[in-house]
Structure formats: C-alpha cells, structure tokens
Point group: C2
Chain length 307, copies 2
C-alpha cells in the first residue's frame, strides 16, 4: 500500500564520543524513507532541499524504491543544516548550529499521484506545515502517524494541538510526553494525550525502549542492549519508518499488529545507531532485518505458566 | 529449599512528592524476606536491631514464615536509621540522615540450623560482613546472590572484589555497573563484571526495567508502567527477594528459570512502590501475585513469525 513520507531531507554535522563528521546527509524523512523501504516499495516523499544537495543520495533513495516527484529542489538555495554534539550518555545533546535555509519558507506540495496515499507519516516539522499536507489529500489515509518535538510545544502549541485532533498515532519521547501532558507519570501522560486526538501513542525512551498505548492497553518494546551506540541521530525517525513501513506492508492497523510494528521499528533504530548518519540503513538484506528482529524476540521471550 | 537472608532490618524516614513518613520499618532484609515469603516458607534471617525495634513487625515476619533465630536484639542500643528525600523523578534521592547505631559493630552470627542453607541472599552490607557470613556456612549453597551499592565501591573496593569471587549472582543498578566496570556501555560493563567472579549479573534500571546477563546471553525484564510510584524505597530488595524466592521454590537455577525469576522479582518490586515502606508486601494473596505477573506477560508479549 502506498506510503507518503513528509519531513526534512537535510545536512547534519555530528560529534559523538566516538568521532565527528563533516556535513553528512540526514533529516527525518531520509531516515523514515530508508527504514520503511525494507517493508514496502510504494514510498512517496514530500520534502525540500537546496541545489547543494548530493545527487548520489537522491539516487540511493530511488534505488530503495522511493519516489522523489514530491522533493522540491530550490535553485540557488541551501539545504537545511543542523549541527550537534552528543554528551557521553548519548541521551542528551547540545545543538551547535541550525540553519533553516530552504526550510524557512517550506510550502509542501503534494503531487497529484500522492494524494490518495493509504499510509501517511508526518515527520517532525512545524505543525502548520504538517496540516498543509493533510489539507491536500483527496481521501483520509488508513493511518496517519505524526512525529513532533518539544520545540513546537514551546512555540506553536495551539497549532500542534489542532493538528493532533486529526491523526491516528503520535510518536514522541518521554520528556515530550511529560511536557505535552503536564504529567510526570507516563501512564497518566498517555491517557491525557490520547484525549487530545490520537488513538494510539508511542512514547520513545531511547536506550530504555518504547511504550505503545491505546485507551485500554499498553505494550512495551525494549531497546537492544548494544556494545556501542555510535551515533543516535535518526534513531527515532528510523523507528517511525520501520513502524509505519511494517504496517503498510501488512495492511493491518490493529493494536496487536502495532506491537509487531514497534519491534520492527526498534530493530531499524538499532541499525541506525551503529554508524554515523544514514550509512547503516543502506543495503541491508532481508536476512539482516530478520536476524535483528530475532534478537529482540530472544531478549524478552520467557515462558511462565500461571496456575 | 531453605533460604538464608542476610541484611539490614532498620528504620527509615522517607519524603516523596506524595508525602512524608515518620520512622517506619525498612531495611534490605525486611523487604527481601517479605518478598521471598510468597514463594518459599523456609526463610531464615540473620540481622541485628536495637531494643527500640517494634515487636509487631517481628511478629509480621514470623507470620510470613520467617525464622528470627538469627536476628540479634541489642539491649540498650538503637536500630539502624536512614532518612532520605526523593526528587520528583523518583530515580534520584538525597540522604538526609544516616545513624549506623547497631550496624556499626555488626558481627553476623549464623545459627547452627541455618548453616546448610540451599539458597543465600546477601543483602547490601559492608563486603567484610557479607564474607563473614560466607565463612560460617558448612556447605556451599546451591546459589549465592549478592546485592551491593556504590558506597562500598567508593570505600571498600578490594574487599568487594574479593567477595565477588565467590558468588553466583550479583544485583546492582546501572550506575553501579558503570562504576564497578569503568564502562559506559552496559553490555561491555556486564562482560567485565562477569569476569570478576559472578556467573550471572542483574542490572536494575528502576522504572526502566532490569537486564539479566550471563557470558553468552542477555534477557530484559520491563518494569510495569504505574500510574504513581509512591515510594521507591525497597524496590531493589523486593526484586531480589522475589527473584531468589522463586528460584528457591522451583529449585532450578538455570538461566531460563532466572528469566522467570526476574519477572517475579519485578512483580514484587511493583507492589512495594505502591505504598510507603513494607506495607504493600504484607498480606498479598497468591492471586494478587499471579495477576500482577500476568500484567508483565501482557506488557511484553508479541507474536512475530519470521520466515
């Protein structure tokens, strides 16, 4: 089923305790599209870059089956750039530089052939931009997943709350869930957020796994304990890409199937953090993915017979 | 099978965002003995209190099947007292007061009838005191589990390392695992610590669950997402009590059975944090425990068939 991915395609420069990169390709939509490409092959991208963006990476995306008809290339302009430094714990980071460039005036245009998408992944962007995408669709997708961040809660809460009313699944991290709800307990936070519109909430806890809530149920997916987390950039987007990619592949948006999808999402995130940038998400085999998912199964599988 | 529990029986005064207690009963061995009493009924306690310690609580322990022959009552002396204040996140706390009292000169004496115990739980105490217990046993227990803390790593590392050589399972939290190993990655930390003597390592991560490692395998048990964590005091000890209690009940110390044991331990910890002190660990029914364990099963159970 067709999957529409909206989000940034950009440059990052990253410092971690393991090393440092010059400008490399990043952006939420890059990670989402690559991660989802292991599950479904009808992926349409809506994003914007400057004329400085490498043709090589566009060809890589095409090679993974991603349509770039909706990727605007602004002549004479520069791509969005973010630079950051991770602390030793890899859970916190400082932003060193942010250059909006093409993103400052981004007007998302959904091509005609994308407008009847079955699945929609709205990567982290200004809520008003996310809404502009929704308003262009000719039918309600089977599933709308939205990612956002604390920055929009700080400066655009009314627009964010309006956008949340129309979506199915919200993915945010634990501190964002606390900020959005005003509740410290994630169980209480989830119930408040589910009352804002989303039917399902995914709370991402990085190395501590992820929680999946609907009004009546909760499911927990662990993160894989790794020897080294090399670069956490894009982990949450890879998670989202694996999640919606698996749902699009299986055409089943039940809570039970979302449990499986969150495991596949976690598996894709576990690849991403093993190398800088998008490198590890390129050229994986089906067997690589299956083996990784099996590691998650082994990690939490136990057999208790209760009388 | 007989379980010997060694550790503090003491007073605590606790402040959390939910309230504040006067002196209430606490101590590692109190929580361990109570939690394990739901699984096995041959529990022997070695500890020390002053003559200020309430008879009521001793009767509660006896009522749960705990033998107090090894509980020294020091006339004219006071019980160990700890007072602390938890921060809003419940993961960090400040110690407000510590009065060693009877603990300052604690010389653990293992009664004759305890010396051939099958299972031994050494709760957090000075490593030299833990070793004194080991030296009095007439046979090697089937399983020795030891809990310790960062304080002993700071002031008694050589004695701690010596003690670790003779045990089977070490339980510590994530920051202690990092301190003991000098490794940030918990996977690397685990391998270093397993080379110090223990065959199995449990890393407790509080609200983020627990990891179980041996040299070749890893298992993850989640914590139950709770509406409110009322008072985290004793959660780690309740976890240890449920863990070793379940192993003593089932007489099976394989890694597979330890996976189950860690889930029962997590269930006992999830009760403890729901009220102040030991209150919630008293008078649970078998059905209460089974229902709680079922919640853990439901929390992580998923069904993925990989081709």
């Amino acid at each position: 089923m067709s999957l529409l991915v909206v989000g940034t395609v950009a440059f990052d420069a990253i410092e971690t305790p393991f090393g440092k990169t010059d400008k490399i390709v990043g952006g939420a939509a890059s990670y989402i599209a690559l991660a989802s490409s292991y599950f479904t092959n009808e992926i349409n991208l809506v994003s914007v870059v400057g004329d400085d963006f490498p043709k090589d990476f566009m060809n890589t995306l095409k090679g993974q089956g991603v349509s770039l008809e909706g990727l605007q290339i602004k002549q004479g302009e520069k791509s969005f750039f973010w630079s950051g430094r991770y602390h030793n714990d890899m859970n916190s980071r400082d932003t060193l530089d942010t250059q909006l460039n093409v993103l400052a005036e981004f007007d998302p245009i959904v091509p005609e052939s994308y407008k009847d998408c079955d699945f929609l992944m709205l990567g982290n962007l200004m809520p008003a931009v996310q809404q502009k995408v929704l308003s262009q669709l000719t039918k309600r997708p089977k599933l709308i997943v939205l990612d956002t961040m604390n920055f929009w809660m700080d400066i655009a809460m009314p627009e964010l709350l309006e956008t949340l009313k129309g979506i199915d699944v919200l993915t945010i991290n634990d501190s964002e869930a606390r900020q959005l709800s005003g509740e410290y307990s994630l169980v209480k936070a989830a119930q408040k957020i589910l009352a804002m519109g989303p039917k399902v909430l995914v709370i991402k806890k990085g190395e501590h796994g992820a929680l999946l809530f609907n009004k009546d149920e909760v499911f927990f997916a662990p993160a894989l304990p790794l020897e080294d987390v090399f670069d956490p950039t894009g982990a949450g987007d890879s998670f989202a890409g694996g999640f919606i990619g698996y749902l699009a592949k299986t055409k089943d948006v039940s809570f039970e199937n979302m449990k499986r999808a969150i495991i596949f999402g976690s598996a894709m995130a576990s690849f991403t953090v093993e190398k800088f940038g998008t490198e590890r998400l390129i050229g994986l085999s089906d067997e690589d993915v299956s083996k990784r998912v099996q590691e998650f199964v082994d990690l939490v599988q136990f057999d208790i017979s209760l009388v």
